[in-house]
């Protein structure tokens, strides 16, 4: 372990030096004593000893080299030297560190989010063997289909299914909704998860009505800490799920979140207990409700293809299991094609599907920021290398090798980069949390496990190394071009000084170009977002609150539900703080939609029927449009007389009327839903277009049904306009509803917030790219300022002579500004070309805006030009104020 001893010696430099000194001194003393014994005086004896020994310093040095790891020793010496140099110019160092920390931090933050979201394998046993089962081209499967797979699938080493649910674990009056997952019996077993406490769910629990010990539930470690303070006696306690008693049998480990990345379920329930939880609205037995994900584990050493072909044996069983009442046609269309298996080591993720594209689009943005920061640091170092030219020349003249100089400079770069990365890591941690928090909404809270693990650290260190090379190369190359003969020149100037400016100018040009690309990207995202926000959604979103009520538990029959809607609406309207209220099955931007593609015009020739065009449907009470402030364009609103047994009526929006009813008056025409055997719907009114699902979408053709005539559902929403502050109104609504029926659960949010949450992706893109766009501009401005200041300082003599010869100060200013303009124009050219190549790739993320939107581009170029002019103006003014006398005397 020689290297180990040498490393230890290196870590104790003082001890090493002292020991060596002792050893050599001892030798000299012994020799001197001997000389004295031969009769020499003390002084003579000592001199003789030194003469005989030779250079003590050299002997000590060479002995030391033998004792330590030489490579590391030189590196540490370089590092100490670099640290001293960096500390000597604190402003430059801080500026460099700040830009590097921001650049590296932003990249690390995005990396950690993308890694957690898309790249990291699930924290379960052998995630590489996990596969997802796709049926008839769908990712999701129905309950009955899962039961068939569970009982008859072969070729897989275990299969499981799960579905998401939102459950109320509080009392109905004090509702507390938490995310949950209904999981099949082998879920935990196949994933290979060990319980933190108690036990996990198994096959015996996965029975209708619960296992032998009654319905069992497993809770997350987070819920265990939050609700039960981590108490050991939590196991065995009761958990009320939507009013039904479950027994807590165990706690899942903290790192486990299931298979759906981005969701953090707090409760895991057996799949077959779904009817207990959902009551009459259970859809576990419905072939049409595809709400489960089926997963399996490939056998060890088995191939995806092998497992898939074995799995096809289930198809005939599936086919036979379809309801007997179905026609052959229905059977054919329900089970299409083969069963497919998709390797899914990272599980599935709604978050990845929804925001992955936008997050990946941010990757080039943050890398551009880092690149600009690198260029900046390169320029700072280059300027310093220029002023150290004399030092380099002297060192070369004294016998240092060029490799040593380059090594020294690269060590400096590396030190800067690593320090920057260290600071950036702290920044990244905060930024990643912020990014995730931005995407989290009330309806879909995000549970993404971000961690500063080895992968993230590795990425950061690799990034730091890379940046050190990028920004360290130019100064190092420059320094190695120093000539020993320059040492003779008093100031280290040489005839080749232009080379520095060539390089610095090139770097600044690149920097301007890159920041233009950033500015254009920021401008596009920002403009797309502001357009979206300022566009009228067709209703007044600011004033309204949305109250979502669940009446599923409170009433028995569907007909009673309709009556319950009326009673609730009356109760809400009677609350003193409520100005107006109306009921609707769906509210704008709520995140789900009700559509049909089979609408027909009555009495129209078949060619004009609307089949295969997706029409959006909603059912609303009377007063809905007035409360929403959506103008009624023609006809009338729904009225009390449009009751369940009255003639069926509908209201359509303008888009619907324009596209299919333009031939005659829309009001009075009749339409029919294909699957609906109940007869036609007479159109009684036309309303203005309003946003349905997402503000980004084109407003779809929409049909509104009378709430009283639509099929009742357990969930109903109310839009409420408050008279005063919303907070007091909510309490009073809650009281009013509780008086109607204590088991109706309520959830309230503002329509404005619901609307804004639908714009998260656009908001995120606009916010992040604008921040970085501004940062890029600032960095480019600093870079340009630095280079121009340095240029002016170098040209003081020339400027002084010009002034002395009678040049006007304004002309000198113009001289410098002309340089600024030249650099800017070339930079803008570079940037425009780069941007043209890059923006095409983000076109699909822009809403109603072409990526080559001229206004945005011109504004971006203008902003950049202004920034460049401002950055160049200060050095230019300094040039005009050069004092000819001092500048000439200085030389």
């Amino acid at each position: 372990m020689e290297w180990w001893r040498r490393l230890v010696a290196l870590c104790r430099p003082r001890r090493l030096a002292d020991d060596l000194d002792d050893e050599l001194q001892h030798h000299l003393e012994m020799r001197a004593q001997e000389e004295q014994a031969r009769g020499a005086s003390l002084v003579e004896a000592r001199l003789a000893a030194r003469r005989r020994f030779g250079s003590v310093a050299l002997a000590a040095d060479r002995s030391r080299d033998a004792d330590v790891l030489t490579v590391l020793d030189t590196f540490l010496r370089d590092l100490r030297h670099a640290a001293r140099l960096l500390a000597r110019t604190p402003t430059v160092t801080l500026a460099a560190l700040a830009s590097l920390a921001l650049g590296i931090g932003a990249n690390t933050a995005l990396f950690s989010v993308l890694d957690a979201l898309a790249w990291r394998a699930l924290p379960v046993r052998e995630p590489n063997r996990l596969v997802q089962v796709r049926l008839s081209g769908h990712d999701a499967i129905s309950g009955p289909a899962w039961r068939v797979l569970r009982d008859h699938a072969s070729g897989l080493d275990g299969a499981f299914a799960w579905g998401n649910a939102r459950i109320n674990i509080g009392a109905p009056a004090d509702s507390r909704f938490v995310p949950a997952q209904l999981v099949s019996g082998r879920f935990f077993e196949v994933l290979g998860v060990e319980p933190l406490r108690g036990r996990l769910l198994d096959v015996s629990d996965d029975r209708a009505g619960g296992g032998p010990g009654g319905p069992a539930a497993v809770i997350s470690a987070a819920l265990w800490r939050r609700e039960f303070a981590g108490a050991p006696n939590t196991i065995g306690r009761r958990l009320t799920v939507d009013g039904q008693p479950f027994t807590i049998v165990g706690v899942a480990p903290a790192s486990f979140f299931g298979v759906d990345v981005g969701r953090a379920p707090d409760v895991f329930l057996p799949l077959e207990t779904e009817p207990l939880v959902r009551g009459r609205d259970s859809y576990l037995g419905d072939w049409y409700s595809r709400w489960l994900r089926g997963f399996g584990r490939l056998p060890a050493g088995g191939s995806l293809e092998g497992a898939a072909s074995a799995l096809q044996g289930v198809l005939p069983v599936l086919h036979d299991s379809l309801p007997r009442t179905w026609s052959d046609e229905d059977r054919q269309s329900h089970l299409r094609g083969a069963i497919a298996l998709v390797a899914s080591p990272s599980g599935t993720s709604w978050l990845r599907e929804r925001y992955g594209r936008a997050l990946f689009a941010l990757a080039p943005v943050v890398s551009l920021v880092l690149l600009i920061a690198c260029v900046n640091v390169a320029n700072l170092l280059l300027a310093r290398a220029e002023s150290r030219r004399h030092e380099f020349a002297v060192r070369l003249a004294l016998g240092a090798s060029r490799a040593q100089l380059v090594r020294q400079l690269l060590t400096e770069s590396l030190l800067l980069a690593l320090l920057g990365a260290g600071i950036g890591l702290g920044f990244a941690w905060a930024a990643a949390q912020l990014l995730v928090a931005q995407l989290s909404t009330q309806a879909l809270p995000i549970g993404l496990q971000l961690s500063l693990d080895g992968r993230v650290l590795g990425f950061t260190v690799a990034l730091a190394m890379l940046t050190a090379v990028i920004f360290g190369l130019a100064p190092a190359r420059h320094a190695s071009a120093a000539a020993p003969v320059d040492a003779l020149d008093r100031r280290g100037h040489s005839a080749r000084r232009r080379s520095h400016f060539g390089m610095a100018n090139g770097l600044v040009t690149v920097q301007i170009g890159l920041s233009l690309v950033l500015a254009i990207a920021a401008g596009l995202f920002l403009r797309s977002f502001t357009q979206l926000v300022s566009r009228s959604p067709g209703f007044d979103r600011r004033a309204l609150a949305v109250v979502n009520a669940d009446v599923g538990r409170a009433v028995e029959t569907p007909a009673d539900r309709t009556a319950m809607y009326d009673r609730l609406l009356d109760a809400i309207r009677s609350a003193p703080e409520v100005k107006a209220a109306a009921a609707a099955i769906n509210t704008p931007a709520a995140g789900w939609m009700w559509t049909t593609s089979d609408v027909r015009l009555e009495g129209a020739p078949p060619a004009s029927n609307l089949s295969r065009v997706e029409v959006f449907v909603n059912a609303v009470s009377s007063g809905y449009f007035a409360t929403m402030r959506t103008p009624l364009v023609a006809g009338r609103d729904f009225e009390v007389r449009d009751a369940i047994r009255a003639p069926r009526v509908a209201i359509v929006n303008e888009t619907f009327a324009r596209r299919w009813l333009s031939a005659g008056p829309a009001v009075g025409a009749s339409i029919r839903f294909g699957e609906d055997r109940g007869g036609g719907l007479q159109i009684v009114g036309v309303v203005a277009d309003a946003v349905y699902r997402r503000p980004q979408d084109r407003i779809p053709p929409t049909v509104y049904l009378s709430l009283a005539q639509a099929r009742p559902r357990p969930a109903i929403s109310f839009v409420v306009e408050p008279r005063g502050p919303a907070a007091t109104m909510l309490a009073s609504i809650q009281r009013a509803v509780a008086r109607v029926h204590p088991e109706v659960t309520l959830e309230v949010r503002s329509l404005d917030r619901q609307f804004n949450e639908a714009l998260l992706q656009e908001r995120l893109l606009a916010g992040v790219s604008t921040t970085f766009g501004a940062l890029g501009l600032v960095l480019a401005a600093v870079g340009l300022y630095g280079v121009m200041s340095f240029a002016v300082a170098r040209r003081r003599r020339e400027l002084g002579i010009r002034l002395a010869l009678g040049a006007a100060p304004a002309r000198l200013k113009g001289l410098v500004l002309r340089d600024v303009a030249r650099l800017t124009i070339v930079g803008v050219g570079v940037g425009v070309v780069a941007a043209l190549v890059l923006v095409e790739r983000v076109g699909d993320l822009l809403v109603d805006l072409p990526p080559t939107d001229v206004v945005t581009w011109l504004v971006a170029i203008g902003t950049l030009a202004l920034t460049a002019f401002t950055a160049g103006y200060l050095p230019a003014r300094r040039a005009a104020r050069v004092d000819p006398v001092t500048s000439l005397r200085d030389e």
Partner: protein, 111 residues
């Protein structure tokens, strides 16, 4: 005859040090020099400046072991002793050296 400086005897320093330590047991640097001086009848003179780097190299290579002890003048001194690996090395060096000497003497006899 002037004392012989060891630049003519490249590579023999290790041999001299190992031999000395094998024969005399633990010694400090000055002790090694004195022994070589005395044993060679002052014909071989070790360059003292080179001795210490060599001692440190040989210690790192595992041929020697170093420890701090009190020397005869009651001062802290570093004493070196030979290790089993050092003895193996000594045998190799002696073997190599005797071959060189044998070859040289044959050359001198028959040339």
């Amino acid at each position: 005859m002037a004392p012989h400086r060891n630049e003519h005897l490249q590579g023999t320093l290790a041999l001299l040090v190992l031999r000395t330590l094998a024969q005399r047991g633990p010694l400090h640097g000055y002790g090694i020099v004195s022994h070589i001086d005395a044993a060679s009848g002052e014909l071989l003179r070790v360059e003292e400046g080179s001795l210490y780097p060599a001692l440190h190299r040989m210690t790192q290579a595992g041929w020697l072991k170093a420890e701090w002890r009190l020397s005869e003048n009651n001062r802290r001194a570093r004493f070196y002793s030979i290790t089993p690996r050092g003895r193996e090395r000594l045998a190799e060096e002696e073997e190599r050296w005797s071959r060189v000497v044998k070859g040289l003497s044959r050359m001198l006899r028959f040339a």
